[in-house]
Symmetry: C2
Subunit: 341 residues, 2 copies
DNA sequence: TTGTAAGCGTTATCAG
DNA sequence: CTGATAACGCTTACAA
C-alpha cells in the first residue's frame, strides 16, 4: 500500500507538504501542489482513514443503530440518513441490533473510535434508557424512542396525532364501530398510535371496546390474522385502522378472503403511507410519514452537534404527519391532503 | 477519552498487558487479567478502533456500495449482508452512489483504510469496469454486475433463466400474446430478464413483437404507464410480464383503471417476489429471488477472501430463482414451487 | 508472565 | 512556503 511517505519521496518533498496539499491546511506553492497531486495520482495514493482519525480524533463517520433492517421503513430511514451524511462528506457505519444479545451496549462499545456520533433508533420500550450505555457527552440523536431519555437529542413522529386524525376522519365519514389493529408489543410507535386511536374515539364520542383492539406485530401476516378475527366478531367493526400499512394490506386481503368489499362493507386505513399504498386495491387511506426526512433531519441535528459541541440542543422534536385519503376508507370525494399538527 | 494507558496505570500494569488481556494474544495471569478487566470496566474503557486498525491493518469493517438505497430490494441486500457480517464480527460501512458525481471512484478512494473488503453492486452497464478504479488485489465481490469484470469475484441472480421460465409458464397456460414491461435502461438485470423473455418466446414458438416490449424503470408508476400503453394496443396482449414486482403492481392497478379483470381478461406476472407480492389483489405470480441470501452469500465470499488471501476464488456464481405461481396469472391449480436452474 | 519500545500513517507544532 | 519531528492509541517483537 502506498503511503504519504512514498508520495513525498517520489515528489521530492516532505510528508508535511503532501499532507498540506491534501488538507489545504497551509499554503503550498502551486507548482509543488501540482507535482504532488500528479505523483499521488500516478502512484494511486489516497490517505489512510484510520491514521487520519487517530491524530485528528475525527472519523467522518456516523454510526446508525437500528432494531432491524427489515422492510421499507428502515430502508427509507437509511436513505434519508445517507443523503444528508453524504452531502456533508460523512460515511455511515450501519448496524442492526438483531441478534446482538447484549443489545445496544455491545454495539456501542464496538463502535468507539470508529464514529463521531450516533443515530440510535430504539422504539423498544424495554431497552429503556438507551443512553445508559453511552459515554455521556457523546453526540447522539435518538429516533422514535420513548421520552425517558431527556439527556439526548431526540426525534419522533407525530404518531398519536396522526392516529387521532385518522379516527376523526373515519368518524366523520359516519363510522361508529372503528377497530384498531395494533403494532408490535412493547413498541413505542405502536403505543403512541394506540393512544391516538383511543383519544380519537373519545373526541368523537365513541366508546372504547376491548374487542375492537387486536394485537399485531407490524407484519402483513399479523394484519391478515387480526382482521379475520375482527370480521368474525358478532358485531364486526365497520372500519379497521391498522397501525401500519403492511398490516392494513394484510387486512385488505383478509376482507377479500372473508367476502367483505372494501370500502363498501368495511373501511380500511393504515399508517406510514409507504409507496405501495397507492397501488393496492383499493388504494389505501393512510397517515403519511416522511420517513427519509426523519432520517435526514436526525443526521442534520447530529452534524450540528458535531460542529458545535458547546451549545448542545437536546430538544425532542416532533415530525408532523399527514392524512392521505384514498379509496379504501370510502370517502367518495377525496379531500386534499392536510397536515395534522 | 480513556485510553489503554489510563487503564494500565490504574491497574498497575503495562499497556502491553492490557492489550494482551483484550486480544488474548499471550498468556496473562488470571488475577492480573481480572484486575485489568475490572479497572477497564470501571473506567469505561474500550479500545480505539482506528488505532487498532492502524497497526493491525485490519478494520473489521466491510464496505457496501449500492447504486441507491431505495426500495425493498436494496434493503433486503443490506439485511443479508448485515446478518453475515455481524456473525463474523464485522462492521458495515454503507454508501450509495447516488449523487456521487465521480461514481465509484470517489467512493472507493474515501474508503481506503476504512474497510477490509468491498461488496459492490453496479448493475449499471455504463459503469462498465467497476474494477478499474479498485486497487488491484483488494478483496471485492461484485453483485449483479455485467460479466465484463472477470478479475473480480462476482455473484448474479439467474435473471434470464427466471424470465424464461415465467414465459414458459405463461405459454403453458395457453397465452400466445405475452408482453414485457422492461426494467431500467442500461441496467444489467433488466437486460438479462429481457433476454430471458425473448428466449422464452422463441422456445414456445411465439413471435417476438416490438410493440409487446415496453420500457419501464422498475417503479410502480412506470409499470402503470407501460401497462396502459399495452392495453391500448389494437391487439392487446393477454399476458403482461413485468421485469419486477413494483412494475407488476403498477400494471395491476392499470388493468383496474382500464376495466380489465386480472387474471380473467389479462394475466400479470412480476419478478423478485417481494413480501408484498402475496398480498396484492390478485396475489402476484412472480419469480422468487432470495435477495437477502444474495447479500449473505456475497458477504461470505468476501470473508473467505479475507481469511485466505492466497487462493483467490474469482468465480462468477449464479443464484437460482424460483417460479412462484399465484392467482394473477390465471393458473387455476397453483403448481408447487419449483427451482429453475 | 510481564515490561520496554518501536512502529502503523497521519496531522500539528515549530522552526526555518 | 517548506521541513523535521512529536504525537495519536494501539499491537508486537524482544528482553527480562
Amino acid at each position: 500500500m502506498v503511503t504519504i511517505k512514498d508520495v513525498a519521496r517520489a515528489a521530492g518533498v516532505s510528508v508535511a507538504t503532501v499532507s498540506r496539499v491534501y488538507n489545504s491546511s497551509a499554503p503550498v506553492r502551486q507548482d509543488t501542489r501540482d507535482r504532488v497531486r500528479a505523483v499521488a495520482e500516478q502512484l494511486g495514493y489516497s490517505p489512510h482513514g484510520a491514521a487520519r482519525s487517530l491524530i485528528t480524533s475525527r472519523t467522518h463517520t456516523l454510526g446508525v443503530l437500528l432494531p432491524d433492517l427489515y422492510g421499507e421503513f428502515f430502508s427509507e430511514v437509511i436513505r434519508g440518513v445517507d443523503g444528508a451524511a453524504q452531502r456533508a462528506g460523512y460515511h455511515l457505519l450501519v448496524s442492526s441490533l438483531r441478534g446482538e444479545s447484549h443489545g445496544l451496549e455491545a454495539a456501542l462499545r464496538s463502535m468507539r473510535g470508529r464514529v463521531d456520533g450516533l443515530i440510535v433508533m430504539s422504539p423498544d420500550l424495554d431497552a429503556g434508557a438507551a443512553g445508559r450505555s453511552l459515554p455521556s457527552g457523546f453526540p447522539v440523536v435518538l429516533l422514535n424512542g420513548p421520552p425517558s431519555d431527556a439527556a439526548y437529542a431526540s426525534l419522533v413522529v407525530a404518531n398519536a396525532e396522526g392516529a387521532q386524525a385518522m379516527v376523526a376522519h373515519l368518524a366523520g365519514l359516519g363510522h361508529r364501530r372503528i377497530a384498531l389493529v395494533g403494532g408490535a408489543a412493547r413498541n413505542y410507535d405502536a403505543e403512541e398510535r394506540r393512544r391516538g386511536y383511543r383519544q380519537g374515539l373519545g373526541e368523537a364520542g365513541l366508546p372504547w371496546r376491548p374487542d375492537y383492539e387486536v394485537a399485531g406485530d407490524f407484519s402483513e401476516e399479523s394484519g391478515h390474522a387480526a382482521a379475520l378475527r375482527l370480521l368474525s366478531l358478532p358485531e364486526p367493526p365497520t372500519a379497521i385502522f391498522a397501525a401500519n400499512d403492511c398490516m392494513a394490506i394484510g387486512a385488505l386481503s383478509a376482507c377479500r378472503d372473508h367476502g367483505r368489499k372494501v370500502p363498501d362493507d368495511v373501511a380500511v386505513a393504515g399508517f406510514d403511507d409507504i409507496p405501495m399504498a397507492r397501488y393496492v386495491d383499493p388504494p389505501l387511506t393512510s397517515v403519511h410519514v416522511d420517513i427519509s426526512a426523519l432520517g435526514a433531519r436526525a443526521t442534520e441535528r447530529l452534524l450540528d452537534a458535531l460542529r458545535a459541541p458547546a451549545n448542545r440542543d437536546l430538544r425532542r422534536e416532533t415530525l408532523p404527519t399527514t392524512l392521505v385519503v384514498r379509496r379504501s376508507c370510502g370517502a367518495l370525494t377525496p379531500t386534499p391532503m392536510r397536515e395534522i399538527p
